[in-house]
Amino acid sequence: MTTLTKEADVPAPRGGGDAFLSVRDLYVHFATEDGTVKAVDGLSFELERGRTLGVVGESGSGKSVTNLSILGLHNPASTEVSGEILLDGQELTGARQKTLESLRGNKMAMIFQDPLTALSPYYTVGRQIAEPYRKHEGASKREAHERAVEMLDKVGIPNARTRAKDYPHQFSGGMRQRAMIAMALVCNPDLLIADEPTTALDVTVQAQILDLLKDLQQEFGSAIIFITHDLGVIGNVADDILVMYGGRAVERGTVEDVLRRPQHPYTWGLLSSMPRLSGDVDEALTPIHGTPPSLLSPPGGCAFHPRCDFAEQVAGGLSCTADRPELPPGRSAACHLTDEQKRTLFTEQIKPRLGQAPRRRDV
């Protein structure tokens, strides 16, 4: 997501031609017995090499589905994908399975949430890492094994040569996720999608893995899409943020922009509902009332309107229940409130809630 340049806060669309990954008007709909699930409902974003895009959202926001459809991992029988996914100029939405297979694990790779279930219990860790290297690089069995050992060592598995012969269940949780990262990076992918890669891990291990991903990105130069529900994690790893709600992007900008000067009421809600280590403990949390929307029959207009505290303040003949707000390119939020209103509301109502303790040592 780098239609943004660091120095410019004004929308600065770059024509899209030079973005490494460009997703436009993506729709992903599943047919189920209860009706059509609109998991992703018109999503556009862009990403440049070497940058990390953090995708935040709650369960059912469409964040994971988007990324499965980039890799073409959805079930074609029950899923309808439309729109454009351009990876380095190559169109992926209509691509043949063979084409996608040659890209997966090679040019684009993925890390999943739970490394215990995401690794096959039946084969050694070394073999699972070596496999894509053999397929995509045409390496021999021995070369691929050497490469697997090298990658395990790189991601910090002690005694990599011996441990490569172990099965995933003989690894600890953190080591499994390291093995998963080694597997994803074995062919030097240009795009790495990490779907909640640290959610199943302990906090001290999470810190190691997040730093590891950042350091590896410096070295490998991959573009990363980092999916998470945790704003703290996103603030730590991402350059840019895309906030998703009900299958659509509702806010985007740099980390600084979105976390320090958020514009969308949903982002406000997320920030004021989570306690922070440096927050003021006497300040009660302000939850978002209601529950996330059903993707079977999402609310009309702005999907967030039933939970929004500011819908009545929208003026200018726009209605949150009828008109769906668009997300303009660049730093923006999909909300009918005017920029002036957003600024005022944030400064006057939201910021005080974020209850910054005056100084940490005086808590």
């Binding site: 297979e101 993925m110 999943f112 096959s120 496999e131 894509p132 269940h169 003989q170 998963m180 597997m183």
Partner: protein
């Protein structure tokens, strides 16, 4: 692995002891004198007394049990002559040696079981996997419906039906019979063809459904998705990643089925009048033939337990988590 096998074998011996004791003592709970059968129509109390003594029925029951069980290990001496280990004694009904009869009947049962199993496993797994691969298509639905219908059939229903049609009406084949494989392979094959087909119809249907559901479950596993995310081809994902896990429930059921079939496919053998262990078991129970009941019972139980152990060993082969824990 060796430790595992030894431990399981010891456990098996204990189970067999319990089964033998329960069978033996239950037998005496039946209010029917086995000697009456041997004594015939013109039975006098004196003759009965002699037979009692000859069969060893005059001794206390625990002593009889002890002699019976030790005979299996060390052999016994009977009035008829020595009976080498494993000695299960002589039939009350016709004085045949029990072990000899079992050894005699066993090939029929093995032929029926192995022949049937090869077919139903191959066709069932194949059809199940095709159905799983084509999940939701017309082919899948046809397979699923077909196997549901067939698996709800019974051998004693389909069996006579097939016999009536193929043997009596169309006269395509002879009445099923057992001819030893070593004597006449072609006769062996033709004689068992109908029973095989009938057994396998029902089992194939079950295995198709089992293989299908287990494969579909595996295809939804996270690690299978990971394999796809690595760019593995559809074939590799299917056969290398999903297939292995789908075997576990199949092996479990197959072990149970095979074990109980080896102990005698009672209904099938009875339906086609084949002289296997199943018919032997039914006859010996009807005749209150204690040594024969005990012999067949322990023989069948041994197979069921044996296949149980084999299944556990196969688990370890399939799944490193079992092997290495």
């Amino acid at each position: 692995m060796l430790r595992f096998l030894i431990r399981r074998s010891l456990g098996a011996v204990v189970i067999l002891l319990i089964i033998s004791a329960v069978t033996f003592f239950l037998f005496y709970a039946v209010p029917r004198d086995p000697a009456m059968l041997a004594c015939g129509k013109n039975c006098t109390p004196d003759a009965l007394e002699v037979i009692h003594r000859n069969l060893g029925l005059d001794k206390p029951v625990p002593q009889q049990y002890w002699e019976f069980m030790s005979g299996i290990v060390t052999g016994r001496d009977f009035a008829q002559g020595p009976c080498p280990a494993p000695c299960f004694g002589y039939s009350f009904a016709n004085s045949d040696p029990v072990w000899g009869t079992i050894v005699d009947r066993f090939p029929t049962t093995v032929s029926l079981t192995v022949g049937g199993a090869v077919v139903f496993l191959a066709i069932g797994l194949g059809a199940g996997m095709i159905a799983a691969h084509k999940k939701g298509t017309l082919l899948d639905k046809a397979f699923s419906t077909g196997s549901l219908v067939l698996s709800s059939m019974q051998i004693y229903f389909i069996g006579p039906l097939v016999l009536a049609l193929v043997v009596y009406n169309l006269e395509l084949l002879d009445q099923p019979q057992y001819v030893p494989l070593t004597e006449d392979p072609a006769g062996w094959f033709m004689g068992l063809l109908i029973p095989w087909c009938v057994v396998q119809i029902i089992f194939t249907a079950n295995y198709t459904r089992l293989a299908r559901s287990s494969m579909i479950e595996q295809l939804q596993e996270d690690h299978v998705r990971t394999a796809r995310a690595k760019g593995m081809s559809g074939r590799t994902v299917f056969f290398r990643y999903a297939w292995r896990g789908s075997l576990i429930p199949i092996v479990t059921i197959f072990g149970v089925d095979l074990g109980s079939l080896f102990g005698g496919a009672m209904i099938t053998e009875w339906t086609f009048s084949l002289p296997g262990l199943g018919t032997l078991a039914v006859d010996s129970v009807q005749n209150t033939d204690l040594p024969m009941v005990m012999g067949v019972m322990l023989f069948a139980a041994t197979f069921i337990i044996l296949f149980n152990i084999i299944v556990d060993a196969v688990y370890a082969f399939i799944d490193p988590r079992v092997r290495l824990s």
